[in-house]
């Protein structure tokens, strides 16, 4: 069973990735990130994605804080947050999140407060979904690495057969 684990996990990963592409949650920029990962930078994707999570949650808090403020009128500030969110989402291939940001920004430019609220809720939803799926992806990847390591034990110290 040990040997097959890595293969099956790789298949699981690919299946999940394909689903996310199909749903438009991720786009080809995510593939670009993966291609930039190699032995000299083995954790590149998770590093970048973790920075993205950290920044995004801060932005979402800021956006919510702005909107919940009864005296809120600074749509300009909102636009700045959204541009940042759009940029980072685009940079990691978070396609659906970016698209919601675009709609959110449009509502903000029209000073459409209820529209902004709706957009914020949608944004939080899409972000949550993305985060969950990416965590799932990383988990499978971790397991796959472990399984692959077990499959190819170092030759110098052969294990006793059970």
């Amino acid at each position: 069973m040990l040997g097959f684990g890595a293969e099956r996990l790789r298949a699981d990963m690919n299946r999940l990735l394909a689903l996310l592409f199909h749903q438009g949650v991720l786009d080809e920029q995510f593939l670009q990130l993966q291609q930039l990962q190699d032995e000299s930078s083995p954790n590149f994707v998770s590093e970048v994605v973790n920075i993205y999570f950290h920044e995004s949650e801060k932005l979402l808090r800021n956006l919510r804080g702005l909107l919940l403020d009864r005296e809120f009128s600074d749509y300009n500030k909102m636009g700045i947050h959204l541009n940042q969110f759009m940029g980072s989402s685009s940079s990691i291939g978070a396609n659906r999140v970016r698209n919601v940001c675009v709609a959110f920004r449009a509502a903000s430019e029209q000073s459409n407060r209820p529209g902004c609220f709706r957009a914020l809720e949608l944004l939080e939803y899409e972000y949550c979904y993305l985060k969950n799926k990416l965590h799932e992806l990383f988990q499978i990847e971790q397991q796959r690495i472990l399984a692959a390591a077990v499959r190819y034990p170092p030759v110098q110290h052969p294990l006793n057969n059970p």
Binding site: L31, Q32, L36, D38, S41, E55, N83, S88, S90, S91
Partner: protein
């Protein structure tokens, strides 16, 4: 610490206020075997370049001084356009107005496709304008600008150097990816020395690959408003 006569290693200064984009551009550049320094603002970039307030091209002082004002040798600056306080355009202007820095090629990146913005940057002397997210295929286009900058420096400083050694391969082509376009062939060639003063000579490097729908802008092949 100068990189001296090391012809095979180029030093790129990347400027972006977004941490994620700095990570990305750094990785892209390192993958292409460049030495990378990243900073998060235009003012830090100028500081790193050793820029001085009175260091302008049209002063009466002769600007043919052999010594470089730069603390560290930088062969190319790649900067985001939208940054607080000092935009990429402002940075570009300051570099081009500086007698010691004006020969450093500058590339602008932006997430927004605004033709007037692009025009303005190219007219101010930017070599290229990349749309974000920047890809490896974009970074592959930097080589000719870096080579030209190096050649210019070599001409301007005293003893003629031996021609650059074989260009290092930017990166081994990544496995199983249908979407990645193969590296452009011109990286392997030695660039013939072009007339050095016209930076905006048409850099027809085979242009963008057919599967990219977004336009890439270089030289003067621009859409007008």
């Amino acid at each position: 610490m100068g990189m001296a006569a090391s012809d095979s290693q180029f030093h790129v200064l990347a400027v972006d206020d977004s941490l994620i984009d700095r990570k990305l551009i750094e990785r892209l550049l390192k993958t292409s075997s460049y030495i990378v320094t990243t900073v998060d603002s235009g003012s830090k970039a100028l500081e790193f370049l050793g820029w001085h307030e009175d260091d302008r091209r049209n002063t009466d002082e002769t600007s043919v001084s052999p010594q470089n004002h730069q603390e560290v040798e930088v062969n190319l600056v790649i900067t985001d356009y939208c940054m607080p306080e000092m935009t990429g355009y402002d940075l570009l202007k300051k570099i081009k107005e500086s007698s010691s820095l004006r020969n450093i090629p500058v590339v602008i990146m932006s997430s927004e496709n605004v033709p007037s913005r692009i025009n303005r940057c190219l007219e101010e002397g930017a070599e290229e304008f990349f749309l974000k997210p920047v890809r490896l295929s974009d970074v592959n286009k930097l080589k000719p600008h870096l080579m030209k900058g190096k050649k210019q420096e070599i001409h301007e400083s005293t003893p003629p150097q031996s021609p650059p050694s074989q260009l290092p391969t930017p990166q081994s082509s990544p496995p199983q990816s249908q979407l990645q376009q193969p590296p452009q062939p011109q990286e392997q060639q030695q660039q013939p020395s072009q007339s050095s003063n016209n930076k905006r000579k048409g850099m027809d490097e085979g242009l963008s690959s057919p599967d990219r729908t977004r336009p890439r802008y270089n030289g003067l092949t621009m859409v007008s408003n």
